[in-house]
């Protein structure tokens, strides 16, 4: 295979970005997730107002919706990958850019470029809403801690989106991919947490949650944010590599 020049790589990345932003479902998913997150933040804040406010409690409440919020990013990742298989678009993609491994990698990069600011805005909006509502009772706020948690949440949502896109590229059909991933995140993983708590450190969502979750002194065997990032990153890379191997070998 001829290796495309850096100019070509920029062009292909531009095309992948163009595909993402001209797909109405991308915007519908992100706007829907933003609105849902604000509703959840409002609900969690109403409950939390009865407690004393500090940096940790504002973060705990502001990021309490992450478990639900990630569904929007899982959907985004799957849509980005599986939309190729609607209307036979994959044929157009591969006759325009036949370098499959490169094309799939650049699709993930384009998705990250769209996801990072969206995840930051959505995660920050929940925390900011909670802060506004609780500012009268808040004491000793630490901006650095808050920014680190929001950055961690952004990283977690971005990696989860990329992992979902890789799963979408593997399965190629939107509904089965959604069933598998939402089934894992909302049924299998919560059950595993209760039945096999030792696995918590190794699963993509539970290990990744340490990227934004404030450390709790009550918990033993916790991971640092960096360790959580590393484990989720490994899972994401693993899925992208497996998806890429299948993508390169399979008939389109």
């Amino acid at each position: 295979m001829r290796v495309p020049s850096s100019k070509k790589i920029t062009l292909i990345l531009g095309a992948e970005l163009g595909k993402l932003i001209t797909l109405p479902l991308t915007w519908l998913t992100l706007i829907g997730t933003f609105i849902l997150n604000l509703f959840l933040a409002a609900a969690f804040t109403s409950v939390g107002l009865q407690e004393t406010a500090g940096t940790q409690s504002i973060l705990n409440i502001g990021l309490a919706s992450m478990g639900y919020l990630q569904a929007g990013f899982i959907i985004l990742g799957i849509l980005a990958a599986c939309s190729e298989y609607t209307g036979g678009q994959i044929r157009t993609t591969l006759t325009t850019v036949p370098w499959r491994g490169l094309q799939l990698s650049l699709k993930h990069l384009a998705l990250a470029i769209v996801t990072i600011p969206a995840a930051f805005i959505i995660a920050a909006s929940g925390v900011f809403y909670t802060f506004i509502r609780m500012r009268d009772t808040a004491t000793g706020l630490e901006i650095d801690t808050m920014l680190a948690a929001i950055a961690g949440a952004t990283g977690y949502l971005t990696l989860t989106t990329l992992l979902s896109a890789a799963m979408g590229a593997l399965i190629r059909r939107t509904t089965p991919a959604l069933v598998i991933l939402l089934g894992y995140y909302f049924v299998v993983s919560p059950l595993t947490r209760d039945l096999l708590p030792g696995l918590k450190r190794y699963l993509p969502d539970t290990a990744g949650s340490y990227m934004y979750m404030p450390l709790s002194s009550e918990e033993v065997n916790v991971l640092t944010a960096l360790q959580g990032t590393g484990i989720l990153m490994l899972w994401t890379l693993l899925f992208i590599i497996v998806a890429s191997i299948f993508y390169r070998r399979r008939d389109a």
């Binding site: 001209t22 479902l25 044929r91 006759t95 850019v97």
Partner: protein, 237 residues
């Protein structure tokens, strides 16, 4: 020049292509004919790098598709359907393709004009008729102004005006030295468009030659086709 050399394709235990070989030459329109399931689309998909051959090769100017330096400017391809996501507009679809190949948006407007889709370019592809989807596929194939066109059933679903447009357009492309390979099951249309004919049946080539050679003693291409592809038909022409 398109060269198919001893191409074999297995899908599971089923042999789709059993070592087929033929060429499509510059300056000529080559018609690739065969009944449904004969292996036409599989051949075109392998040629375009979409499917992998079990053995043999399908080369474009001597290279496999994935090794082309600038695929869009070398081969324009239009397979079944529009090849576009139905929620995107026709114009947005062509624009991402153009961007990937480093072509300006003005080229998108040019090909929209050529295929007569300018007025419908802002509509979502899901609202297009079958014929409009075909035209969009054709517009995508023409974006890079390629020397080679590979078209799967290009006139299927088009109205008489559309069929006439495609026929005239393909003849003009070939006459200016380009290579055109098209598959079709519409004999009447094909006979008025092609110079060379390749007929495939059950994954094997049963006829390969100029239109006159393949028609031979039969009264028409259609007669020749049915004689060659009926279950009793035998040897290669």
């Amino acid at each position: 020049m398109l060269e198919i050399n001893n191409l074999v394709k297995h899908r599971g235990t089923h042999e789709i292509l059993s070592g087929i070989s033929f060429k499509a030459r510059p300056g000529r329109v080559t018609g690739f004919l065969g009944p449904n399931g004969a292996g036409k689309s599989s051949t075109l998909r392998i040629l375009l790098g979409l499917d992998r051959a079990t053995s043999g090769s399908a080369l474009i100017n001597g290279k496999p598709f994935a090794e082309l330096h600038n695929p869009l400017a070398t081969v324009g391809a239009s397979l079944d359907g529009s090849g576009a996501h139905r929620k995107r507009t026709g114009r947005a679809h062509l624009r991402w393709i153009a961007r990937a190949a480093g072509l300006p948006n003005s080229r998108v407007e040019e090909v929209l004009e050529i295929v007569g889709l300018t007025d419908a370019a802002g509509q979502k592809v899901g609202k297009y008729s079958l014929g409009m989807g075909k035209r969009l596929g054709m517009a995508a194939a023409l974006l890079g102004d390629p020397q080679i066109l590979v078209l799967d059933e290009p006139v299927n679903g088009l109205d008489p005006e559309g069929i006439r447009f495609i026929r005239t357009f393909l003849r003009e492309r070939a006459e200016s030295g380009n290579t055109v390979l098209l598959s079709s099951h519409l004999m009447g249309e094909l006979a008025e468009t092609v110079d060379d004919v390749v007929i495939i049946k059950h994954g094997k080539i049963v006829a390969d030659g100029t239109l006159e050679q393949v028609i031979g003693n039969h009264s028409s291409l259609e007669e020749a086709f049915f004689a060659l592809t009926s279950e009793k038909a035998g040897d290669t022409v």
